[in-house]
Structure formats: C-alpha cells, structure tokens
Symmetry: C2
C-alpha cells in the first residue's frame, strides 16, 4: 500500500514482506548478507508493488546524486547538441542522469549555471567554458566538485580535460589542401582567444612549412562580422587564396553562404574544410570536408575521467588528447 505521497517507499515494501527497511534496501541493491531466497522474494514484491527508488532520499544519505551536469553554450549549436546526445547515452548506461545547462555564451549566465549545478549537488560537471578565462571556472574550482573541461585547454596542470589533437587537426587540413594543389591558404575563425584556434592554426602553418610554402602563404583572418568576412574573402580571392580552413563546421556553413553571396563557387573558387565533422553525425544538408574527432570517444573518455576524479580526488590532473582524422567531402577540389 503506497504512502500518502502516492509513491511506494521502502517502508511499504518492508511492511508487505515482513522484513525491515534496511533489509529491503540491501535486497534491492543486491548487496551481500541477504539469503538468495529473501532477496528474490523482496525484489518480486517490490516489482509487484511498483516500487521505484527515491533518488532524492538516497542522495541525501549517501552523498551521491548519480547526476552529472553538462554546461555548454547552447543546444542550438549542433556541435554541443550532438555531444550532449552521446554524453546522455553514456551517462545513462552508467546509471547517471544528465542535467543540461546552457550559458548562451554569456559569462554571467555561465556562472549562474555553475551555481545551479552546485546547488543541485551533482556528482560532477562536464563543462565547455565559453572562453579560456571564464570566471565561472574559478567558482567551479573553488567548489571542490569534480569536473572535466571539454574542448578547451585552460593551462598546463590545473584541471582534468578532454580535447582532440587540435594541432594535428589543423595540420591534416593544411596537408590535404596542399596535396589537392592549393598553394595559398587561409584560416577563418570567429574568435582567436581560444587555445583551439591557436593550435589549429599552428598545425595549419606546419603543413605549409613542411610543403615548403612561405609563411605568408598561410593567412589568418578573424571576425564575426559577415561584412568583414566578405571583405576578407574578396581580398583573398584577389591574392590568389584558393583553400579556406574554417575553425569549425558551424562557422563553415555560415561562410559557405557568404562565399556564394559574393558570387564565388565552391569548390571551384574556394575549397572549404571545416572541423568537428558534424556532417558525419547528423543528416544535415551540405556535408563538408572536415576533421573528425569521435564524439562517442570524447563522451566516453570524459565520463571515465569524471568518474575517476569522483573516486580519486587526490590524483594529479589528467589530460586526454583524442586522435583526429580528416573526412573528405566535396567542398574540396
């Protein structure tokens, strides 16, 4: 018979079976010190009565909520969304529920999200900070709650983090374009304050040097303003640039339309390569050539690291660098 709350509790099952609450609890968690017979009887009865464990009560006592938070920019960005999807799957597989918190790329909101996660007593946090100097991170570090930084590198030996081999990704793009015959390349990025941006460009540059191209043949342009990007494109066209490396696929798509708005064609006038290989995970229109870093692998490693940190808070910070591959599609000639 369910209690007043309408939900069946351990006490209800205890009364119905004649055992104590504690025994029922242990039986349902398959802990030792329970005879096989009692265990099965209790589990059967609990199932019959429709018992579902109250994680709130469980969490208060045990100190673990079996919940992790993901703090990202926005689910409107398919990169974050796909990542959230695989993280949720992986979390569920391990008995964790996932709380999603979107900062909308706003530092103040990011702090709010950290506070929300903390007040909800999550066991751990996966976070993709908006910038490399996000104030929210100080908050998080000070809280003592285990966390893993995704896709950002915030300094040598501070936090656990999982990110892909950015430098090699940039290198692969550069080499691919050069092998396709391009001799003058440009990288386009919305923001250059990120570690990722610098690393990707480093690799891009390395590919150029390796092929014997002078450094001035590997150009870098940064802007979020469509009009300015258009000016970049027109200038580059005049200067003989034929290969463009977009910081990521989402930016690449925006740039594709700008390129076409200028009357240029892809890949005839510009070959375009992106990053993240979102086309490989979602049925989006306009698949583009891109660098792949398995989302699944990232999610698995991130949660692994987080659980490791939860159980061993004393270990030194760990960095996981994931391998990347280049996926060729027809945005390149």
């Amino acid at each position: 018979m369910p209690g007043k709350s309408g939900r069946v509790t351990l006490e209800d099952v205890a009364k119905a079976t004649g055992f104590t609450i504690n025994t029922v609890s242990r039986a349902l968690k398959n802990k030792p010190d329970i005879s096989r017979q009692t265990c099965e009887a209790i589990q059967k009865k609990a199932r019959e009565m429709g018992y579902v464990r109250n994680y709130i009560a469980s969490s208060l006592r045990s100190g673990r909520t079996k919940t992790i938070a993901l703090i990202a920019g926005t689910m409107s960005n398919p990169f974050y969304a796909v990542l959230a999807d695989v993280i949720q799957r992986e979390a569920f597989r391990l008995g964790y529920s996932l709380m999603i918190l979107c900062s909308q790329d706003d530092p103040e909101m990011e702090t709010n999200m950290v506070n929300m996660a903390l007040s909800r007593q999550v066991d751990g946090v996966l976070v993709i900070p908006w910038s490399d100097q996000s104030p929210a991170m100080e908050q998080l570090r000070g809280s003592g709650v285990p966390f893993v930084v995704l896709n950002r590198f915030l300094g040598e030996d501070r936090d656990d983090c999982v990110l892909c081999d950015e430098e090699n990704g940039g290198y692969l793009v550069g080499r691919h374009l050069i092998e396709a015959g391009h001799r003058k390349l440009a990288m386009l990025s919305h923001r250059d304050v990120l570690f990722s941006t610098r690393q990707r460009f480093q690799g891009f540059l390395r590919a150029g040097r390796e092929a014997g191209l002078p450094d001035e043949n590997i150009i870098y342009g940064q802007s979020t303003d469509p009009e300015e990007i258009i000016r970049f494109l027109k200038r580059w066209k005049e200067e003989g640039v034929t290969g463009i490396f977009s910081f990521c696929d989402v930016e690449a798509w925006e740039e594709l339309s700008l390129i076409e708005r200028c009357g240029f064609r892809i890949p005839e006038d510009f070959s375009v390569v992106g990053f993240d290989n979102i086309s490989g995970y979602v049925a989006f229109p306009r698949p583009i050539c891109s660098v792949d870093c398995s989302f699944q692998e990232e999610a698995t490693q991130a949660i692994d690291l987080l659980r490791n940190r939860i159980h061993h808070p004393e270990l030194p910070p760990q960095h996981v660098i994931l391998p990347v591959t280049l996926i060729c599609r027809d945005s390149c000639r």
Copy 2:
C-alpha cells in the same frame, strides 16, 4: 565553518549567527516572521560563508525537486535540440533545472527514460513520445507525475498537450505552392502513424480543394528508404508533380540531396517546403521554405501548462494549439 562534507550548511550559518536552523532557513527564503534586521544579517553572513542551498535535502523535505525532465528522441535532431535549448532557458528563468533524456526513438528506451525521470522525483515531465501509441506513456500516466505532451496528440481528452496548428500548417504550404503556380503537389513523410502527419496532409489537401484541384493532384508518399523515395521522386516527376511538402525540415534536407542525386534541381524541377522552420533558429546551411511555430512560444506554453498541472492536479486536461506562419525562402519558385 563548513561541516565535514566540505559544504556550508544551514547549521553552520545558524551557529555563526546565533539563530536556529529554522530561522536561517526562513530568512534565506524571505519568509515572514523574521525581522528585517535579522533577515539581512543572516543573508549577509550566509553569503560571506558561501552558503549554497542543498536542493537534495530541500527536495526530500518539501517534496518538490524544482527539476523537470524532457524526454525526446535525440539531441542529434536539431528540432529537439532547439526545443531543448529554449525549454532549458525558460526552466532556468523559473528556477527549474532540466534533465535531458533521449530515447533514441526506441520504445523500450523510452520506458527506461520515464523510469529514470520518476526515480529522480522530477516535479514534471515534458515528453515528445516517439509514437502515438507509446507504451511509456501508460507508465507515465500511472505514475501520477504531472506531464505535458509536446508535438503529439494522443487522443481527445486524456493528457495536457501543446502542439502547433498542424492542419493549418499543411494548408499554408498547399496554398503557398498553388499560389506559386504549382498544380500537382506531393507530400513526403517518413512515418504516417502520427497525428501530425495526417493533420498536415488534411490541410494540404484542403488547400488543393479550395483551389479547385482534384484530389488526385495532391499525392501522399511515405517511406524511410532512400531508394524508395528516389523512386517516388522519379515517378512524380513524370506525373508532373512540381511542388513537394516535406513532413519536416530534417526530412526535407535529406530529400534535397536525394532530389539532387536524381539530377533534378531545386527549385527549377521541384519546389520544396518543409516544416518547423529550423533555418530560422540556427545558422544551418541551406535555408528552406518552411512553416514556423515559435519554439519560444511552445516552450513557454509547455512549462506554463506543466506548472499549472503541478499546482492544480484536478483540472481537466488542457490542449494548447499554437499558431503557425509560413516563412518563404528560395527552395520555392
């Protein structure tokens, strides 16, 4: 001084201020029966000590977790992702955290997700069931937990739901294509078991009738198989179909590439209209003509309805039908 857990509790603040736990609790929640002076003193001290409310303990006592769950197919589908984004924003605004549960369009997993939500004692659930006869829904109904169905209609007077004016959406698409000069139209959908599909086609058909077109000029085709869809397209081309209505934008994008694989061009050979207007919310490549139903409005209404249900379980089921508009883009001539 923080307790052993490392986190500051009400007790710590109580000791530091000389009041009891209860008084501190009331002060921090701005409840009555507290003098203005003590209230401010307590709040100040709590802030200084870095107190953050333990929602787990709070939830256990009050019976409310201030958490809602969203059960959707997958975040890899931008439709769900964008919806999740606005829902998270709206939830946060009202002090709720959001738990994301993806069923991966698998009925069994959907049941798992309902159970996860229940065991986490969420205050309410927003659910987009995979099908109109989802077994998970029975589970959810039986639980007594407030919930609102999104984007599905599961029968006249059972559940609360929020969905857009599907029929009118289909009608707008039909009228738009006919006004653009098309005389033979087809609707393409992956699944026809959904209420939405039937309603959209009804509206589509109504537009045709209103324009005096015979019913056989308004064709319906259903398939998830790319090869079969290609056969549809080729046959329709021969039959003189020039306007295609895709069930939703995500399917539309897949169909765009199939159309081009057949050697047909857009919009010269086929005008294509989608549904959901995802292009209006995300910087995706290839914006298409589509029916818009404000995500923001849907999220707001859904959470409103849910909160209403939480506070008034006795009210009769409510249905909210959201208005739709057609957004014209160049996938149509």
